[in-house]
């Protein structure tokens, strides 16, 4: 039993306690404590002071460090944000016939509890080296996050949650199939069913089974990552989930699933035949995802769905990068960091707008610059960041991915990549400018004049924004900006190690 269990078990414990606490305040405190402790443990892991006893179950290699720190950071931000986002509500929902447990009455209790479980599941899927264990983790994230999506308990959220549950379960079942095939591919003498364990016996792995395994895993986990055309659950879930949850979903969860694919890819990278197949598939899915997301971001009527599709696009960008190999791998990993920071803050800002205007329709909102100064400025900054405008980090990564594409003479792919990026840019620009610019809004979604009192309006005509609502986005966006200008040495080293693991070059 290594100390690593702690980082998984602690959230579970706090989660259970949360479920059974009545007071909203204590739950908030628990949430904060959990996230802080998790961060502390993460720091230890990244320092290398916590390492797995045996390499049979867990690993703390560079990949884990990157994704774990992203998750932990995002979770902290999300929990900070959740403090203001969740208004304490007295009435839970009606008791369900099967499980008449008291905590189910309280939406917030369930929500916060599941947040903890969600964290635990994600952490498990990140730190686990054993493929089976990792699969359990990923499946667990689905189970833990379904109640988060269903938090609002209305028809739409129910529909979203159901779709999410079915689609992701199916996908992950396929991934399990893939893992069985992977097990089929390994010779008997392999002691650890982990990436490193298999890499040791690269020579003895069986190509054909490995290929099948990779296809199954890619399609299966790809469903969870949101590669088109398996992405269909993503916009529904992200738009219906409460904003802290959507921030975590697109910022952290997708990365976990991506990591699960990368682990298998790590094995495939050892064998040229499979490696080429894997790269082809990565490029294929990357471009398709970017195309689909571009098409749906253009004319998108719902700004949270727009953000969701943008996640699809960025997952596509990363996949494209992994497929290209070389420097692009490092770039893609770096892109994952930047994307998580930016996208989560965008979701939080979307939450602010939603809670102020009570509508997700783009055309119902304009003149934000005049009503929500801080949020709207960050909103525009986030737009620039997510579309890869310098000096944000995303620019560097997207450009070096393009560079790699051109270097390896994939002119066509490079051109398509740029084309889709432009498509996304135009669509997003339209949406963001429609919302931020223009005259101050006077009518609400129903067309009645807005009662700015209920939006607790200030004297100068701006809506009151609680500091906790925008402190996290400010920090995250600032971080993304800073990463664009200079990557701190330790982060750079970790990224380079990770890309070396995946057979890529250093950034």
């Amino acid at each position: 039993m290594s100390t690593l269990w702690l980082i998984i078990l602690f959230p579970i414990l706090t989660g259970i306690t949360t479920l059974f606490t009545k007071s909203h305040k204590i739950r908030k405190i628990l949430l904060l404590i959990c996230s802080v402790v998790h961060m502390a443990l993460t720091v230890f892991i990244c320092q290398g002071s916590i390492t797995p006893a045996t390499e049979s179950w867990f690993t703390t290699d560079a990949l884990t460090k990157i994704f774990l720190s992203i998750t932990s950071l995002l979770y902290f931000g999300a929990s900070l944000y959740a403090l203001t986002y969740l208004k304490p509500d007295e009435d839970g929902d009606q008791p369900s016939a099967l499980l008449d447990l008291s905590f189910l009455r309280n939406k917030n209790a369930v929500f916060m509890g599941c947040m903890h479980f969600f964290l635990a599941a994600m952490t498990l899927s990140i730190v686990s080296a054993h493929f089976g264990l990792q699969w359990i983790g990923v499946e667990a994230t689905t189970l833990a996050s379904t109640p988060l999506i269903y938090h609002h308990r209305n028809k739409k959220s129910l529909e979203a949650a159901w779709k999410y549950l079915i689609i992701c379960s199916v996908g992950i079942a396929l991934a399990l199939m893939g893992i069985f095939f992977l097990a089929m591919a390994v010779p008997a003498q392999v002691e650890f069913f982990t990436p490193r364990g298999l890499s040791k016996f690269a020579g003895y792995l069986r190509t054909d089974w490995l290929q099948v395994a990779f296809i199954f895993v890619l399609v299966g986990y790809g469903t969870k990552v949101g590669f088109a055309p398996m992405h269909t659950w993503l916009p529904d879930a992200h738009s219906e989930a409460p904003s802290p949850a959507s921030a975590l979903l697109s910022g952290a969860l997708l990365n976990c699933a991506l990591l699960a694919i990368l682990r298998v890819y790590q094995v495939c990278a050892e064998i040229p035949a499979v490696q080429t197949l894997a790269s082809e598939l990565f490029v294929l899915f990357g471009l398709v995802s970017m195309a689909i997301s571009g098409i749906f971001i253009m004319h998108q009527a719902d700004y949270k769905r727009m953000l969701a599709y943008s996640s699809v696009e960025h997952m596509g960008v990363m996949a494209f990068g992994f497929g290209l190999g070389k420097v692009a791998v490092a770039a893609a990993l770096f892109h994952a960091i930047c994307h998580s920071l930016i996208k989560s803050s965008l979701f939080m800002l979307a939450g602010n707008i939603l809670s102020a205007y009570q509508t997700k329709k783009v055309e119902k909102i304009h003149g934000l610059l005049r009503t929500m100064p801080v949020t709207s400025v960050l909103w525009l900054a986030g737009f620039l960041a997510i579309t890869g405008t310098p000096p944000f980090g995303t620019f560097m990564t997207e450009f070096s991915i393009l560079k790699t594409a051109v270097e390896s003479r994939n002119y066509l792919f490079g051109a398509l990549y740029l084309l889709f990026l432009v498509l996304v840019f135009v669509g997003m620009l339209t949406i963001f400018s429609t919302m931020a610019l223009g005259k101050k809004m006077t009518v609400n979604s129903e067309g009645q004049p807005i009662d700015y009192k209920e939006l607790n309006l200030r004297k100068d005509g701006t809506i009151y924004e609680h500091p906790l609502q925008y402190i996290t986005p400010i920090i995250f966006l600032a971080a993304a900006l800073y990463l664009g200008c200079n990557i701190p040495e330790p982060i750079l080293q970790t990224i380079n190690e990770a890309s070396a693991i995946l057979g890529g070059k250093a950034l």
Binding site: A97, I136, K155, M177, A301, V362
Partner: protein, 230 residues
């Protein structure tokens, strides 16, 4: 071994053919039982862990889950699957086609193996049947069932490939599946409560069919008319 595989296949065909949901659930329970005993007969010997796994598998898949689903069924008051996207006769036909496909794929995959394990074919067939059910049936319940079949398929294939993990992992996998179906069950209640039907084909409130108003690429504008400002 082979007999179990055949039984599994038959149960699938039954599942495809039958419109009555209760029967379908019973079929699933039967499948659960078959898959439960599969590791025992697959000749890996009778270790303690194997027995435990088989027991939990049987309890979960052929007793607990079917019971819950039956509850849900009774509560929703629906008896049978009404017009699926593909009629039952056609479903059976396509089931047979799927059987051929899975046989083909399995043989192609294992062409350099000594034997084409029948349970691998069964696994593929279950998997495809599960997918097929989810795709063609309308009731949310049936989709849950389909998912269960799919899971069974994966499990069977896993067994047939003889790739067994350590005890803990296997247990974890089982647990996950269980919780998954369990959640689906709970949500079935909620769906029933919210929509007072469990037809997922009416689940299309969330779509991207509506466009953002106004011409996105608005190039045409009578600029001479409107005054800009300094």
């Amino acid at each position: 071994m082979n007999s179990i595989a055949t039984l599994l296949a038959l149960s699938c065909l039954f599942l495809l053919g039958s419109s009555r949901l209760m029967l379908a659930i019973n079929m699933i329970a039967f499948q659960g039982f078959l898959i439960g005993i599969l590791p025992l007969v697959s000749g890996h010997g009778f270790s303690f862990e194997v027995i435990i796994l088989a027991a939990t598998g049987i309890i979960m898949k052929s007793i607990a889950l079917p019971q819950m689903l039956k509850k849900a069924l009774e509560k929703s008051g629906t008896k049978r699957e009404v017009e699926p996207y593909i009629s039952f006769g056609a479903s059976i036909l396509s089931g047979i086609i799927l059987l051929f496909i899975s046989g083909w794929i399995a043989s192609r995959l294992t062409q350099d193996e000594t034997i084409v394990s029948s349970s691998l074919i069964a696994g593929f067939f279950l998997l495809f049947t599960g997918l097929f059910t989810i795709i063609t049936r309308k009731k949310a319940l049936t989709q849950a069932l389909g998912f269960l079949v799919l899971e069974n398929g994966v499990y069977t294939a896993g067994l047939s490939l003889g790739s067994e993990f350590s005890f803990m992992v296997e247990l974890g996998i089982l647990l996950d599946v269980f919780v998954g179906i369990f959640l689906m069950g709970i949500m079935l209640f909620h769906i029933d409560k919210e929509f007072d039907h469990i037809d997922t084909d009416r689940f299309d409130a969330l779509s991207d069919l509506e466009l953002l108003n106004g011409n996105i690429l608005n190039l045409d504008q009578d600029t001479d008319e409107e005054e800009g400002a300094e």
